[in-house]
C-alpha cells in the first residue's frame, strides 16, 4: 500500500478500501483539506501520524529496555524465594528461642518462689515476643501477593508490547546477582549476603576449603 502523504492520497485509499462513491469522498476530502490546512506544514497529518508512530516505537524501545520478561522470569521469583527464606529462618529461630525458654521454665520451677516468679515472668515475655514470627510471616505473605500482582501486570504489558527484543541470558544472570548482592556497600563482586537454604555452604565445608588452602600454601 502506498504511503499517505496528502489528503488526496487519503481519499484514494478510502475510496479503494471502502468503495465509497467519488461524490461522497469529495466531502471527506474537503474536511481533510481543512484539517491539513490547520497543521503547521503542508504534510501535516502525515507528519503527525509519523510522530505518533515514532513515539510508539520509542516507547516500545524504552519499555523493552526495562526487560519486563526478565523481571517476570528472574527478579520476581528471586525476590519471592528470598522472602520465603525469611519466613523459614524466623520460624526456625523462634523454635530455638522457645526451646531455650522451655529449659529456663523447667529450671525456674526449682527456684525459691520470688526468684521463680521473676524467671517465669521473663519466660512469658519471651513467649509473647515470639508472636512476631506469625505477624512478620503474614506481612511477608502480603508482599509476596503484591509481587504476584506486579507479575500479572507485567504479563499484560508484555502482551501489549508484542514481540520484544530477545534477552541475553548472561546479562540477566548478572543483573539478578547484582540485585541480590549484599547492599552494605562492600565489594559487590564477592559479597552475596545470606544464601538460600540448601545453597549455603556448611561450616564443615568451609573448614574443608580452609584446610585445603592451608595444605596448598
Amino acid at each position: 500500500m502506498d504511503r499517505i502523504k496528502s489528503s488526496r492520497d487519503l481519499s484514494l485509499q478510502l475510496n479503494a478500501a471502502e468503495g465509497i462513491p467519488p461524490h461522497n469522498l469529495e466531502i471527506v476530502q474537503k474536511v481533510v483539506d481543512r484539517l491539513m490546512s490547520q497543521w503547521p506544514n503542508n504534510r501535516g497529518i502525515y507528519l503527525q501520524l509519523q510522530r505518533l508512530a515514532d513515539f510508539i516505537t520509542k516507547t516500545r524501545g524504552e519499555l523493552s529496555s526495562f526487560r519486563p520478561q526478565e523481571m517476570k522470569e528472574r527478579f520476581i521469583p528471586k525476590a519471592t524465594d528470598e522472602l520465603d527464606a525469611i519466613v523459614e529462618a524466623t520460624a526456625s529461630a523462634t523454635h530455638t528461642i522457645m526451646d531455650a525458654a522451655d529449659v529456663i521454665m523447667d529450671l525456674a520451677g526449682r527456684l525459691e518462689k520470688e526468684q521463680s516468679d521473676k524467671a517465669m515472668a521473663a519466660v512469658t515475655s519471651i513467649y509473647e515476643a515470639c508472636t512476631f514470627q506469625d505477624i512478620t510471616g503474614q506481612r511477608v505473605t502480603k508482599v509476596i501477593n503484591v509481587l504476584k500482582v506486579i507479575e500479572d501486570r507485567i504479563d499484560k504489558m508484555v502482551l501489549a508490547l508484542g514481540e520484544l527484543e530477545p534477552i541475553d541470558q548472561a546479562q540477566i544472570d548478572d543483573a539478578v546477582e547484582e540485585a541480590v548482592t549484599d547492599s552494605a556497600g562492600g565489594d559487590r563482586s564477592t559479597l552475596n549476603g545470606p544464601a538460600l537454604p540448601g545453597q549455603a555452604k556448611s561450616q564443615a565445608e568451609i573448614d574443608a576449603i580452609l584446610s585445603g588452602l592451608d595444605g596448598a600454601s
Partner: protein, 128 residues
C-alpha cells in the same frame, strides 16, 4: 461455677510457632490439656470426636479459615455452645463485627500478652 483447668482446650493456627506459643501461655495460666489443629477443617473433625471446653482459633488459615470454623461450630447442634475465642492479626472493625455476628465469644488481636489471654478466657469462662 469455677473453671475446670483440666478441661480440653483446642488451639487452631496454621503457624507452628503460634500453636506452641499459645499452648505454652495456656500452660502457664494453668491449662494442661491442650490439643492443636492447623486449620479449621482439622479442628472441626477433632471437635466431632472430642468435647472441648474452649476453642482458641486464628482467622486466616487455609483451606478452612477460623471464621468458617466458627460458623460450622455454631451451626452444629452438638457443638454450638462451645466457647470460641478468635486470636488474629485482623484488627479491622469489619472483621470484629463479622466474628461477633458469627457468634464469637471473644476476640484477641495479635500480638497479645499472656495477661490479655488470661483476661479474655476469664471473661468467657468465668474467673479462675
Amino acid at each position: 461455677m469455677s473453671v475446670d483447668l483440666k478441661m480440653p482446650v483446642l488451639v487452631v493456627d496454621d503457624y507452628a510457632t503460634m500453636l506452641r506459643i499459645v499452648k505454652n501461655l495456656l500452660k502457664q495460666i494453668g491449662f494442661e490439656n491442650v490439643d492443636e489443629a492447623s486449620d479449621g477443617g482439622q479442628a472441626f473433625q477433632m471437635m466431632k470426636f472430642k468435647k472441648y471446653g474452649l476453642v482458641i482459633s486464628d482467622w486466616n488459615m487455609q483451606p478452612t479459615s477460623g471464621i468458617d470454623l466458627l460458623r460450622n461450630v455454631r451451626g452444629d447442634a452438638d457443638l454450638k455452645g462451645t466457647p470460641f475465642i478468635m486470636v488474629t492479626a485482623e484488627s479491622k472493625t469489619d472483621n470484629v463485627i463479622e466474628a461477633k455476628n458469627a457468634g464469637v465469644s471473644n476476640y484477641i488481636v495479635k500480638p497479645f500478652s499472656s495477661e490479655i489471654l488470661k483476661g479474655k478466657i476469664a471473661s468467657v469462662l468465668g474467673q479462675f
